[in-house]
Symmetry: C3
Subunit: 327 residues, 3 copies
Amino acid sequence: MHVSHRHQASRLQLSAAGRLRHFLSTEGLSCELLTEILDTAESFLLPDGGMRREPRLAGCTVMNLFFEASTRTRTTFEVAAKKLSADVVNIDISTSSTSKGETLRDMLWNLEAMDPDIFVVRHNLSGAAHYIAEQVTPRVAVINAGDGQHAHPTQAMLDMLTLRRHAGPFSELCVAIVGDIRHSRVARSNIHALQTLGARAIHVIGPHTLMPTGIEELGVKVFTRLEEGLRDVDVVIALRIQNERMASALLPSAQEFFQLYGLTEERMQLARPGALVMHPGPINRGVEIAGELADGERSVLLQQVSYGIAVRMAVLSMTLQGQKEAG
Amino acid sequence: MHVSHRHQASRLQLSAAGRLRHFLSTEGLSCELLTEILDTAESFLLPDGGMRREPRLAGCTVMNLFFEASTRTRTTFEVAAKKLSADVVNIDISTSSTSKGETLRDMLWNLEAMDPDIFVVRHNLSGAAHYIAEQVTPRVAVINAGDGQHAHPTQAMLDMLTLRRHAGPFSELCVAIVGDIRHSRVARSNIHALQTLGARAIHVIGPHTLMPTGIEELGVKVFTRLEEGLRDVDVVIALRIQNERMASALLPSAQEFFQLYGLTEERMQLARPGALVMHPGPINRGVEIAGELADGERSVLLQQVSYGIAVRMAVLSMTLQGQKEAG
Amino acid sequence: MHVSHRHQASRLQLSAAGRLRHFLSTEGLSCELLTEILDTAESFLLPDGGMRREPRLAGCTVMNLFFEASTRTRTTFEVAAKKLSADVVNIDISTSSTSKGETLRDMLWNLEAMDPDIFVVRHNLSGAAHYIAEQVTPRVAVINAGDGQHAHPTQAMLDMLTLRRHAGPFSELCVAIVGDIRHSRVARSNIHALQTLGARAIHVIGPHTLMPTGIEELGVKVFTRLEEGLRDVDVVIALRIQNERMASALLPSAQEFFQLYGLTEERMQLARPGALVMHPGPINRGVEIAGELADGERSVLLQQVSYGIAVRMAVLSMTLQGQKEAG
């Protein structure tokens, strides 16, 4: 998280004119640009909860390159791209091409020779989307749909849109993030976005074993006790607990986790009045969050999903535009 | 099959104005409504065997939710929806999301937050489509593409369209259904549709072990000997034998089944002159039906497939319209 | 490769008026027709390396029937068809329908009853596409996307387009094909196309064990030593080595193969000045071709991929047109 990294990330994501041409990370993007993403996303929202269709990607080909299976995230990008009239080609690489011994670079060169406009990339390795954006031909935009433990910037931006619409201006917000902070690309992307958008305070809450060393340098307050971390908070974002992680002894059992860090209506009383709960989904009821809380008035979980479509529509159309203007 | 069930099913499937808003079952729908489905389907048929394209679903998103793999049925819905200019998103849930431990209800809420218009649902549990229609937000239509041993209403309606076009008015028809009646959603859906449309008589033919108890109450005549059941019949619908079932000792071997219940040209002589044969496919030649019969003049198997596209186009456009009018 | 075969292939591929209605093989097609494919493909190429979109397949349904998994080839056809505004339905038959015990013929009849316009067929058995074209209803075009060791005609035509655009008129070209000639559908389809288009000379280079008996009768010169085969050559097409084959003792190890038949910049000095290298992909760097050569000035590997989209657009639109005129 050094300045040089930020510069590199912003250099790669932006055109010479400062327009978004790839969307890889919330790190290194300006408050103006993140706000433009939120404004664009909001322009697609209809009053009834649906999304406005616009043919901004008509005649364009979006390739969903999923090196790691994720039906849910792939579906959100497919729905968003089709609402913009794009042609969508799903390429499930986890099962197919790597088995033929081709290098990632060769595969990319091949795919870009097929004349696509946008690559949506999901990969289990941190940095994969950056690598692809560095390698790719200038006229193809790359959107990071989650890379290892590094970043999940569209998830962060849908969280930001949820905050802006349901919790008020960022400068007044104290946001807590609860769970496995160390391994979470969602936490990382959210912290960068919240900092850039000027959140009043950020709390990260979780067991010592799941707290990355030096996280305080990002300007967050660290809590290992949920009850302390919830004080003064306007919104709580619960992270998804990976079952794989629990097997590895870094995490207590699901039951123990719920006892220590599970969000309940009772515990939410410690936060500010009317404090909201969010979760990137899919939720484990009774692990990260009590079922009643997820279904209750404080929950904006399903709004998050809808805003996710709008945010992906925004990022797809903005990066396409950025590439065109740069080209 | 009690009256209360019928009322419940019709209440769920129809809007307050009596329009089709979900299509879950042929049970509980009126003769007028089933006839409207047939008329709408017929309006899509071209004289050359092709289907008329109409952009009635332009700007709409159809999600094919297949909790049970069925390439054939998924393909028919995908083709039908695309002929109506819909955006289609295929979601193969058998392999993906349930592995993340999400509940069905949470998954549905998430998917409906993505702003779809229609869910096409295939599930191995009876009642799944009803459950989903009960849970779903008002503006999303649910179409049952087969749920366990309960119903397969689009298959029934394509069978009805085949009967109407190739065998004459329902009031004059005696239809036999042959095979594993007990486990067949096709048999169940066909019996309800035939009753409602006023078929002259329905014969169900199969071994005792594969005959549901109390089936006579549905107004059908039960036969355990094929030769007896075929008498006076205008059309014979052979059901597909599931190989899984034969392993379970409920069914004799494939060879024995063919000897007892397999349809042949010779046996068809027992039926009325010119009697037709139908089969939902895929057929097992030499098990449910002799190859020559399947390929011969009595066979309308391939017309059934074509009408299946037209019926799905009808149901997709009618439920969409029903939702819009209700909303 | 007898005359009767050629006649049969051309009879099946052409309408009574001599128009392309199926595309199964480069064998048996005239120089005029292959040239028309190249001209049509070229008309889709834009100066910037992209492809011109045209709605020639608007309102048409293309079914990708892949009996053998090939994400790459399926993707090229899907991209090509969508650039022509077709509706595309992907049917992965390797995993699905054969498990239900249906015959290939029954499956085809079923699929054609769904009112498609074009079948794109990939199959691991030689002759599968011909068989399907023989069986299929007149109004459906069949395009061979690779059948066993028999033919891969769209690969051959993209190779021809690459030659025409980058190496000059066919009558002046000497083309070498290197590798496992015996098992290669690409080699077979390329040899037929090169002969028909009037190439000056064709060299086939590979170990004795991988050279089909009687190949000289096709009018090619056989070389077992790479160094000899490269002399006087304008273009070298390296074939992909199948790893499966190496396990079978027909082939030496990857390292040995590279020592004997691997293309390097040094060895390319034996060919004509400025000689080009081609490869159908995906490449095994350091097996069939040195990495520097693949990435160097002689390489037209990525142009091949782009032309592959244009050639598939050409073949899709020409066969559709051929069917319409015939119908």
